[in-house]
């Protein structure tokens, strides 16, 4: 510990800190410009100058980079210190008369006007070099530096041209104390968007606000450290030292008794339906985007706004986008009707817009759903029965100008209508996850025709699969809403627990077997088995079937060219006898 005196107060502080930090602890304010806690102090602006009194006399020191010493006596606002500070600020004011923080500091110190010659009245840069050091020390890009010397000194990129080394991180602007560096145009540079954040986000972030566990991650593609090897500011500020840039992805092998697959769904990409204009027309948004917009933590703070910042006066919600359509998915996605009604309700609550719901049928099948639909009818949402053919911005009349026009056949009155709205919400359907086929392969389960995982039996075993010990929960099995998902997940957990608790399971009686004596080891069956139940034993030169995995599908039996693989209870002899039986007159 170090004992010292600041402004007449005797204090004890820890070793190795600066005078500025010691003063901060005592809530004594020393003005600074080129100081930032994340950067090594450099004492360029010399605004933080203080008087250090020793036995014989006193000297002026910059408090930001002078370490405390035992027996030190500091005066932060003595005449001598203030005189020097005023002089320094006056000179800074001549260098950068347009810099607001310098103007404010000058005012604070009672300087009305600088006595020195002003070179450029619009100058903001005080040549402190914060930006240069941030670019070099923190970012590691070294894209900017000082150019020339003396009174011609300025901060610039090499030769004053746009620098290849600049990664557009804007750290220079962030650290600049006077606002001399502004980020004017990031267009064409990488601005990091997280898909539904509707705006730029940081390289280290929590994936979504409902994430479990609620832990941030580093987006390696966007993180400066992974570009230049420098920065690591996040680990500097993290008091718990929880950030490890060297951490690698690891594969963990676990032995488990049962597995529940809950790999979810993919939202239908409405840009596949060009007639709806998604991605082409402003204010045509997907359901998930609307959900994000209306969320209290959204960039608009939960306000429903158009891209021009105004509130919509009319909104169209189009049902069955990518569902119940033989061109895309023939099945019903089951959730869109209800969330569309919810959207209509939220729109009514938050805006005064006219709301149009374009539907094929209202599928309000769940508990309380029909009642909710009735509530919406009373709230005044306009329901139009018919599939929308087109969303365009081609106005045919004055009312349609500047609007999105929804063309639809109103099947209840039998006319084609044009309805101008400000915003269109596409109730996108649910699709199997992009990697569902791979997952199915890994777990030896099947997918039904629509691509969702196939349950063992639609009525009697809706959470089981054809692979014992593997259960399904949620939308990976079929589109379903939250109550259904919770119910299925509960059932899957019970099934998994029951199996694990029992510690054994029943084998399929009808399985295939390979006669060791007859198998010639041609291995044709090995690659064919949809349950990977067959392995080739190199030493014995034969293929073997794992009874626990075999489901008795018979693929290997029909493919086995030597007849070594036979299906129990369905041997060729039996089948031929049956065929003969059929032909007996």
């Amino acid at each position: 510990m170090v004992n010292l005196k600041i402004d007449g107060k005797t204090i004890q502080v820890e070793d190795g800190i600066t005078i500025l930090q010691a003063a901060e602890q005592q809530e004594i304010k020393i003005p600074t410009l080129c100081y930032h806690p994340l950067m090594e102090p450099y004492a360029a602006c010399r605004v933080c100058v203080v008087e250090s009194i020793s036995g014989k006399g006193s000297e002026l020191v910059t408090s930001c980079n002078t370490l405390v010493k035992n027996g030190m006596e500091i005066q932060t606002a003595s005449d001598k210190a203030l005189f020097a500070r005023r002089m320094n600020v006056e000179m800074l004011l001549a260098q950068a008369p347009a810099a607001v923080p310098v103007q404010e500091l000058a005012k604070e110190l009672g300087i009305e006007k600088t006595r020195f010659k002003i070179k450029d009245p619009d100058e903001k840069c005080i040549l402190c070099g914060m930006c240069v050091r941030a670019c070099e020390d923190i970012v590691g890009a070294s894209a900017i530096s000082f150019l020339q010397r003396g009174q011609h000194r300025e901060v610039c990129t090499p030769f004053g041209e746009q620098s290849e080394a600049c990664i557009g991180c804007t750290a220079c602007a962030f650290f600049c104390p006077t606002g001399a560096i502004t980020v004017e145009d990031l267009h064409g540079r990488k601005v990091i968007h997280s898909e539904l954040d509707l705006g730029p986000s940081t390289a280290i972030r929590v994936p979504i606000r409902q994430a479990v566990p609620m832990v941030p991650f580093i987006d390696e593609e966007a993180c400066i450290h992974f570009k230049t090897g420098e920065c690591k500011i996040c680990s500097d500020v993290c008091q718990k030292e929880a950030i490890d840039h060297e951490a690698q992805d690891e594969e963990i092998e676990l032995e488990v008794g049962s597995i529940i697959l809950a790999s979810g769904f993919k939202s239908f990409d409405p840009s596949l339906i060009p007639a709806y204009g998604y991605g082409r027309l402003d204010n045509v948004i997907t359901a998930l985007e609307f959900e994000r917009l209306v969320n209290a933590s959204s960039p608009t703070g939960g306000k429903i706004l158009l891209s021009n910042g105004e509130e919509p006066k009319s909104v169209g919600i189009i049902h069955c986008v990518g569902s119940r359509d033989e061109n895309y998915n023939e099945y019903c996605s089951r959730v869109c009707c209800m969330y569309s009604l919810k959207f209509a309700h939220l729109l009514k609550e938050k805006t005064s817009a006219d709301i149009y719901d374009f539907y094929i049928d209202m599928r309000c099948f769940g508990k309380g759903y029909e009642e909710f639909y009735h509530r919406l009818l009373h709230e005044g949402t306009k329901f139009i029965r018919g599939r929308v053919s087109e969303v365009s911005d081609m106005a045919l009349s004055k009312e349609e100008e500047g609007k999105l026009i929804i063309r639809v056949e109103d099947t209840l009155i039998g006319v084609v209508r044009r309805i101008p709205v400000d915003m269109v919400i596409l109730a996108t359907g649910l699709e199997p996850g992009t990697d569902s086929n791979q997952i199915a392969k890994v777990f030896n389960i099947s997918c039904s025709q629509d691509g969702f995982f196939l349950e063992r039996h639609p009525k009697l075993a809706p959470v089981s699969t054809f692979s014992d010990g593997i259960f399904l929960a949620g939308t990976c099995q079929s589109p379903k809403d939250i109550p259904d998902t919770v119910a299925q997940a509960g059932a899957a957990a019970c099934e998994a627990l029951a199996l694990a608790d029992k510690g054994k399971f029943d084998l399929e009686p009808i399985t295939a077997e390979i006669d060791e004596e007859l198998c010639a080891g041609c291995q044709i069956c090995v690659g064919l088995c949809p349950f990977t139940a067959i392995t080739y034993d190199k030493e014995k030169g034969i293929s073997e079937i794992n009874d626990a995995l075999c489901k008795g599908c018979g693929t290997c039996v029909s493919a086995c060219p030597s007849g070594a693989a036979q299906q129990k209870h369905f041997r060729d002899k039996q089948i031929f006898a049956e065929i003969e039986g059929i032909f007996i007159e």
């Binding site: 006669d515 690659g527 030597s562």
Partner: protein, 327 residues
């Protein structure tokens, strides 16, 4: 001629003569055979007449080796005669065992075969349009006869009772010697056995280890279309090799000559139909899930029936093409 030696007969039906050659190929081993047995009937090599056989007591011939398929009345008559006179009948070679190459005639019938052979083939010079007659009266009143040519080619066991089968086109020397030794020593397997190991050829094949984990065929190639790797599994090269569906015992004669197996040894005991079984296996190797693409791959197979049923059509569950009604 000592009477203690067992009597042996050889006969050929619809065959190329290669099986007779196979007997001759025994070379000096044939001396061991003749030392142990009396050959009482062998039309190719020795001068005996049908009447000599008819004169023998029923069952007096220890074993008759009959090669070739049965496709006319003379062959049928002779094999029935030999059956009556013999204790054992061995179907010798692919044609008597499965129908063989002549068996491919079952895709046609007598009418279409005669039409091709005596009328339409480019080398035919037959202005009067004569076709073989079963009976003809000469000017001098003499009657000439020819055997009746059947619509269908039969395997030997479709005509008479067969005790054993010696597979192969033609049966290899070591199998013939093993069979003869077993018969002489009385160490015979149960009736109806094929005298060759009951495993498919992949078991012996030196190329089996070169097989990838999953065979995937994108296009079917014929041997002359590709530069063949002489160590790699033929199927892995996209060449149809019947080895997986064919009984072993041939000592991989074709494989060692860098030619794929054509299936002359027929299927293993547990398989009813070699062609169908191989087709089942082969179809599962096609590397596509798209129907159109699969059709494209399948169309690259030239002569599928002749490829998969090259030796086994008459013995298969197909037997023959449906007989066309004669117009």
């Amino acid at each position: 001629m000592s009477t203690e030696k067992p009597k042996v007969a050889f006969y050929w039906c619809a065959s190329c003569g290669g099986c007779e050659e196979a007997v001759i190929d025994l070379a000096e081993d044939i001396l061991k055979v003749t030392a142990a047995v009396d050959i009482v009937f062998w039309p190719v090599a020795m001068d005996f007449k049908k009447t000599d056989v008819e004169a023998m007591e029923d069952g007096s011939i220890a074993v008759s080796f009959i090669n070739g398929a049965v496709r006319n009345s003379e062959q049928e008559e002779m094999v029935n005669l030999l059956r009556r006179k013999s204790g054992l009948v061995v179907a010798f070679g692919s044609c008597s065992h499965l129908g063989g190459i002549p068996g491919l005639a079952n895709f046609w019938n007598r009418k279409t075969i005669f039409n091709s052979s005596y009328h339409t083939s480019p080398s035919t010079d037959n202005p009067e349009g004569t076709i073989p007659q079963e009976k003809h009266i000469m000017e001098d009143g003499k009657e000439l006869t020819l055997p009746r040519f059947y619509d269908t080619v039969y395997t030997l066991d479709q005509v008479i009772d067969v005790d054993y089968y010696l597979p192969g086109c033609a049966p290899p020397k070591h199998l013939i010697m093993t069979a003869i030794t077993a018969i002489l020593e009385g160490k015979l397997p149960s009736k109806g056995a094929v005298l060759s190991p009951n495993k498919s050829l992949c078991d012996d094949c030196g190329r089996n280890d070169s097989k990838p984990e999953k065979l995937a065929i994108k296009a079917v190639k014929r041997p002359w279309e590709v530069e063949m790797d002489n160590e790699k599994c033929f199927l892995a090269q996209g060449i149809i090799c019947m080895g997986p569906a064919t009984r072993s015992g041939c000592e991989e004669r074709c494989i060692l000559g860098n030619m794929p197996c054509r299936g002359c040894f027929g299927p293993t005991d547990q398989v009813y139909d070699q062609g169908a079984k191989f087709l089942g296996a082969f179809a599962s190797l096609l590397d596509s899930d798209d129907e159109e693409e699969i059709e494209k791959i399948v169309n690259t197979i030239v002569d599928p029936a002749g490829t998969f049923y090259r030796f086994s059509l008459p013995s298969s569950i197909l037997r023959r093409k449906r007989m066309e009604t004669v117009k």
